[in-house]
Symmetry: C2
Subunit: 338 residues, 2 copies
Amino acid sequence: MVTIYDIAKRANVSPMTVSRVINNSKQISESTRQKVQAVIEELGYIPNSAARSLISKKTKILSLLITDITNPFFTRVARGAEDKAKQFGYQILLSNTDEDFKKEEDYIDMLLSTNVDGVLLAPTGDQSKKNIKKLIKRDIPFVLLDREIEGIESDIVLGDSYEGTRKLIEHLIQQGHKKIALINGPLSVSTARERHKSYIETLKLSNLKVNHDLISEIGYNKDDADTIIKNLISLPKFERPTAIFAANNFIAVNAIKALRKFGYEVPKDMSIVCFEDFEPITGFNPFLTAAIQPAYSFGYTGIQFLIERIEGKAPKEYRKIVLSPEIVIRESSRLIKK
Amino acid sequence: MVTIYDIAKRANVSPMTVSRVINNSKQISESTRQKVQAVIEELGYIPNSAARSLISKKTKILSLLITDITNPFFTRVARGAEDKAKQFGYQILLSNTDEDFKKEEDYIDMLLSTNVDGVLLAPTGDQSKKNIKKLIKRDIPFVLLDREIEGIESDIVLGDSYEGTRKLIEHLIQQGHKKIALINGPLSVSTARERHKSYIETLKLSNLKVNHDLISEIGYNKDDADTIIKNLISLPKFERPTAIFAANNFIAVNAIKALRKFGYEVPKDMSIVCFEDFEPITGFNPFLTAAIQPAYSFGYTGIQFLIERIEGKAPKEYRKIVLSPEIVIRESSRLIKK
DNA sequence: CTGTTAGCGCCTTCAC
DNA sequence: GTGAAGGCGCTAACAG
């Protein structure tokens, strides 16, 4: 391994001078700089970042802690995060929690030991508070993504769950639906609470009665929705739903799979709408009516907030940005033929 | 920050003893171990990995260098990689090259400085040889992903481009197509060369003539395919293709978009097949006929090979594994109605 | 503008 | 079974 000592010897200067060159110090004559630079290139020297971190306490590594990179929402978040990070010379450490508190805890411990400079995280839910406290305790800057946690103060990038839900439900109502089911994520996650609240209030505002038999809860991740769907379609005709609002893309997909299993076609026998798109490139093969969030911006802005916080360029007050979803009407909520 | 010195003082032992405890050394009495362990937990001590790396030259960080996490193929690769890495206590650094040699070079330099323990990479093409030589020069273990590079010896995880292409083309021929266009990736990438070769040979074996006007090349990434499509559909009727084989999913999507722009419907006016699926969950909304590769296994096996190599558990000979795609026939290549 | 000294937190080596 | 000394590669602080 080539070190500053090797460079120093060969260039006939002190190691400190080499250090100054690689750190672009101004306090150095152009001639020595060039001399040293030449040797650096000749020997292919690359600074050892472990040694640097040991002193600076900086690693230029950020952690992106999401639930599942496989979810197109988070895929695009990750891309936005990576792009912004690269601009500022940071690298991204990727972790998937699968909505699991224990995994989240494991990763938090790992990244604490790695000494990442900051964390952009979509917490698994309110229980994450305990994990986040560890970050706070060690003064690791972090930015929350997509989900709020009561009692945790931080910069945060959110989507407008309330508005998105309202518009989706209103769309269904406009299509003539009066019995709309909600398959929600866990109420321990703030987005699920918002969507629940908006669902209820939007129905009421439209003078539709809220039937609690039509509301159910399931994991945001990859649980199958067979039982829930079975229950819904087993309801007596007068309360059986004609449309479903799924709280996210995975839930929608699992619902559709379950519906198919029981012989129901979407949208012929059941309309369905949801949050989040299901494809990495929007609009290629339109099927799901959805509230599509600007996921790339979630990641991009999140990392920007984070780096500003790390580098002391952020305002003292925490920032909260709420990004609006775009409602895209597609095949899955086509008008019911009378 | 809590260090081994703080622990040592509080536990009335030497720092060295603390070091032995955190490294699970056998040379230590059960009673001191417990005493020290208690203080470690009390103070919430976490080892500083920069200091450790400085000595051990290990970081427990692996680099995953892919072209674009947004491509569902690589999304699933990343998930497989991350899962395997976690099993062995490694973390994954994610980078997107966008098929760009310069970006790849940037990242290689960054990860060299980060001292990652190893790299799993999908090279941007044959030109990557120069970048890979840097890894070799510094003895960084690496495993190639999806793409071969002549003159580079390493463990490698590949898909069977030849077989996949052959089956897709044969399927089209069976559907009655005689004029099949190829929109390929850059021939500087081994997968494109394989697909090219297989396309030609399969046509010949079926006694179909190869028309070079039907063969074109485009980026694997996100270039638009308008010009190529325009050229294809402008051909005189007797040579105009009735089906397109797109070398990957993004090319297929761009081709379909272009076709739509010019008023062509898939599959009514043009059939299309490609490599790689387009959705993160296979089979939900079937449209594209595709050779679907076991992407998760690419990542999972790649990381396994890499860790074995790093930890000296790999055989001396380099391993090459070729994973077979699954051909899934769907809407986009439906039979032509006569 | 350049060099010297000391130390970041930990572990290897060698004593005891 | 435990501890002291020294050094991993680099840079802050000071000296010249």
